[in-house]
């Protein structure tokens, strides 16, 4: 599914490649691809139609700007294809916006009632919100008003314990509305200035349970009623949201389970159809995983460009603080051109822990095709060869001559040529990295400035990374001439930039 989406938008982009002016004829095909992508992302059909109508109108109506300045004020070229995608993204964000993660107060207290279907994650969200409020220096009280699901009360109590927030529960047989009223009373008495009501999960069509919600609503008059919505949901999400919105005044939506590969297209439709803003996103199973909603993030996710986010999360999931620091240090060394094969090995190991290489590449925008060319055991081969090197050789691969290569090949059960290829490629790579570090394109990546120093020339990876680079195994003498040549090239480029 992931690929389908990305492909949809890449296909759209490709269809518009080489197109100079966006016209009715040439965008129709692109629009169709986008439509498929959105439908696959569970976006409601009515919303899709409306959305495409607006994109079309804008694409045809606007003069395509071929030079636009991006966030950091640089001027970059934009093709009509890119322009088209940009319109899509803006319109998507428009559909989901405006951003408003604020919570209303009544008489100085933030009160929140959570409603939603069964199994969408209300209880977990209740605890997460309590944690969120706690961080804002509030004193929250949790209320367990789900008296139906076995152990639901206990679940909230456990979660409450873990964040040191008291949980108000009723005695057996208490009506949910009574439990909530008692909790509101306790909050006033004991000075809690935030209160979160966790209600029973329900089927929107169930009148008895909807009535129960009405009663709670009447009893405590919460300042916020939030609908908890599951990102895995299909098109019925819209009907559900509508059913809730008809009975209650909804102030916002919390979207959960966004830590998987769900696109959340259904939730997009919820905003579009009911007009209720999305306030928070649940992105993990622990109580800290609640993020204020940012439409741009979700837009690029739905467009299939946000897979990088998933990748980053995978990365976060497999590394701890110490390893992250280590990786950062490795990165710095890499940029200084001092990377050793040992560092390289540890980088590779980190990557492998994130899952099969193929899948990692599939998550990088535009790298799907590349993933197919990667052999599954390539990394294993590399590792075995590096393991067969001495410590000295790993620190300084230049040492590896023919006889050393022969020994390594024997030790790892590979061919000599493979060892030479590896060493050649590694040296080539190290050199490129070094060039990147010394005023390369690292400045382009937000957050990399610190690593790379300030600024950078116009993005041109091909030039920066050096020419095509043959199939590795470069001999030493040849390599150093190449090196000099590249250095000269880089220097020329830097001068050129200075003039500009």
């Amino acid at each position: 599914m992931l690929e389908t989406l990305t492909q949809g938008f890449s296909a759209a982009r490709e269809k518009l490649a080489g197109v100079r002016v966006l016209s009715e004829e040439n965008i129709d095909g692109a629009l169709r691809d986008v439509r498929m992508s959105l439908l696959e992302a569970d976006v409601d059909l009515a919303v899709v139609r409306d959305f495409l109508g607006r994109v079309k109108e804008r694409a045809l109506g606007e003069k395509v700007q071929t030079r636009v300045s991006d966030a950091s004020g640089r001027t970059v070229k934009a093709t009509p294809g890119q322009h088209f995608i940009a319109i899509c993204e803006q319109e998507l964000a428009q559909l989901m916006g405006p951003v408003d993660a604020s919570l209303a107060r009544k008489r100085g207290a933030v009160s929140i009632m959570l409603v939603g279907l069964q199994g969408v994650g209300k209880t977990t969200v209740a605890a997460k919100l309590a944690r969120h409020l706690q961080r804002q220096q509030r004193k929250p009280l949790l209320v367990a008003a789900d008296v139906y699901r076995p152990a639901a009360v206990l679940q909230l109590q456990r979660l409450g314990e873990s964040i040191e927030v008291p949980v108000q529960a009723g005695a057996e047989g208490d009506a949910p509305a009574a439990i909530c009223a008692a909790a509101a009373e306790r909050a006033r008495r004991e000075g809690f200035d935030a209160i979160v009501y966790d209600t029973a999960g329900r089927l929107a069509i169930d009148d008895a349970l909807m009535t129960e919600l009405d009663e709670i609503n009447a009893a405590v008059e919460p300042a916020n009623t939030l609908l908890v919505c599951d990102a895995l949901m299909g098109r019925d999400a819209v009907n559900v949201a509508q059913a809730f919105a008809e009975r209650l005044t909804l102030d916002g939506v919390v979207m959960t389970k966004l830590d998987g590969d769900a696109r959340g297209g259904a939730a997009l439709a919820v905003k579009a159809v009911t007009g209720v803003p999305i306030k928070f996103l649940g992105t993990g199973e622990t109580v800290d995983r609640l993020e204020p909603f940012r439409p741009e993030g979700l837009a690029s996710r739905i467009l299939g460009m946000g897979d990088v986010v998933g990748l980053v999360q995978d990365f976060e999931a497999v590394v701890d603080e110490r390893e992250a620091e280590q990786a950062e240090q490795d990165a710095e060394r890499m940029l200084e051109g001092k990377l050793s094969l040992d560092d390289f090995l540890s980088q590779l190991k980190l990557i492998r822990r994130m899952g099969p290489l193929k899948e990692i590449f599939a998550k990088l925008p535009g790298m799907g095709g590349f993933a197919d060319q990667v052999e599954g055991d390539e990394l294993t081969k590399v590792e075995s060869m590096v393991h067969s090197m001495t410590r000295q050789e790993r620190g300084d691969p230049d040492l590896i001559d023919k006889s050393r290569a022969a020994r390594i090949a024997r030790g790892s059960g590979r061919k000599q040529k493979e060892v030479r290829d590896l060493v050649g490629r590694f040296l080539q790579m190290r050199e490129m990295m070094g060039q990147l570090g010394s005023g390369g394109m690292l400045g382009k990546i937000p957050g990399m400035g610190r690593l790379a120093g300030a600024g950078g020339p116009e993005l041109d990876p091909a030039a920066l990374l050096g020419g095509g680079g043959g199939g590795g195994g470069a001999r030493q003498g040849k390599r150093s001439t190449q090196q000099r040549r590249k250095k000269r090239k880089a220097a020329r480029k830097a001068r050129k930039k200075g003039r500009r």
Partner: protein, 390 residues
């Protein structure tokens, strides 16, 4: 989440790298670098608010369980369900009405689209829209449309409906394979699914069904992660009147599975049902944990698990496809249970799933009561979807 510029930057780079596949090692080595920066970026706003403790991955690979010192608790109810541990939810409308609602979404609108008109391009267009909005998924909707397109222009509504009905029925009949004959004893059932899909509830209903047929059932509380999940299963055990084997919250689920099977064998139980923690299918370590549980089960009882049941929420959209694919990769999913089939436009995803994977569909959950777990019947499902008088 990431900023746009990051993605902008990645695209041309990706394109370039694709043209030079031999450089993939470079990509591998550079990836951590990029990711470190990205993590940094994500953490920054949080760090400004206050220093946050690093979040540990949820389950570190559990050490080999020490069987002896982690004595499992076994809850044995004194008498079959002396009292319901929690209030029964208010009685919801019955099955027929609910199925009626499910079909309203698809066929109610089918009538509106076709309603006496003859088949032409415009109708086809609307039909397409209709199929898409029933969670059938693009490939399945396309294949259904293909059938309709083959019909002569000018075909009437009834024949179009019949064509669609037959096509859907054909797809679903292929996966209509109710509960297999009991193996064992014990007949071991492993239950999986994403968070909140209804695993524990399905287990409760399934246990009730087996117990009702006079079988001895043992439940294993393998969800050791979520707060109070063990107690939730124990509440069901009490309600149904069967034993629940549980370990510690935060314990190793594979060892709970092991203990459950030992207990089941020792007590001569006919059926052992093992719960697992909900997990999103993209979480690698958690999916691997499932593989481990399955292996432990296979080692303990020959031929087990005899049934690996994937529980799927009927509300799920196209993500169900991804769920089926990834869960099947780590365990041999042998059956599906579709839960929460009580709202509107639900269950359409089943057709897409049948098309893509052909995993047998065993049960449908149609409500909150103990007896609301039914055998999946394709024709009934299709009849409900395409009833003439809708």
């Amino acid at each position: 989440m990431l900023q746009r510029p990051m993605i902008d930057w990645l695209h041309p780079l990706a394109t370039w790298i694709q043209a030079h596949p031999h450089l993939f090692l470079l990509v591998c080595a550079a990836l951590p670098l990029v990711l470190v920066a990205a993590v940094e970026l994500r953490r920054r706003p949080a760090a400004e608010r206050q220093a946050e403790p690093a979040e540990l991955p949820r389950t570190a690979p559990a050490p080999v369980p020490e069987r002896r010192d982690a004595a499992p608790t076994v809850t044995v109810p004194e008498a079959p369900a002396p009292r319901a541990p929690v209030a029964e939810p208010p009685r919801a409308p019955r099955l027929r009405e609910r199925l009626a609602r499910t079909q309203e979404a698809l066929v109610g609108r089918l009538e509106r689209v076709l309603g006496g008109r003859e088949l032409d391009a415009e109708v086809l267009d609307e039909l397409e829209a209709l199929l898409f909005s029933a969670d059938l998924g693009v490939p399945t909707a396309e294949s259904l449309l293909e059938r309709v397109r083959k019909q002569p222009v000018g075909s009437d509504a009834a024949s179009v409906r019949a064509t669609l009905r037959d096509a859907v029925a054909e797809k679903l009949r292929a996966v209509e394979q109710p509960q297999p004959a009991l193996a064992g004893p014990p007949h071991v059932i492993l239950v999986l699914g994403v968070n909140g899909s209804g695993k524990t509830t399905t287990i409760g209903k399934l246990a009730a069904r087996h117990a009702g047929e006079g079988r001895r059932v043992v439940l294993g509380a393998g969800d050791t992660f979520r707060a109070a999940a063990i107690e939730q299963l124990q509440a069901w055990g009490e309600r149904v009147g069967c034993e629940v084997v549980a370990g510690q919250e935060g314990g190793d689920p594979a060892s709970v599975a092991f203990d459950t099977l030992r207990a089941a064998v020792a007590r001569g139980a006919d059926v052992a049902i093992i719960d697992t923690a909900g997990r999103l299918q993209t979480k690698k370590p958690l999916m691997e944990e499932l593989g481990k549980i399955a292996r432990v089960i296979a080692r303990e009882v020959e031929g087990a698990p005899h049934e690996t049941l994937l529980v799927l929420d009927a509300n799920t959209g196209q993500n169900a496809i991804s769920q089926a694919r990834l869960f099947t990769e780590v365990t041999s999913v042998s059956g599906l249970a579709l839960t929460k089939l009580d709202g509107t436009a639900k269950g359409g995803v089943l057709v897409g799933l049948a098309d893509a994977f052909g995993i047998p569909v065993r049960y449908v959950g149609v409500g909150e009561g103990v007896d609301d777990l039914r055998d999946f019947a394709a024709d009934e499902f299709v009849d409900a979807l395409f009833r003439e008088d809708a």
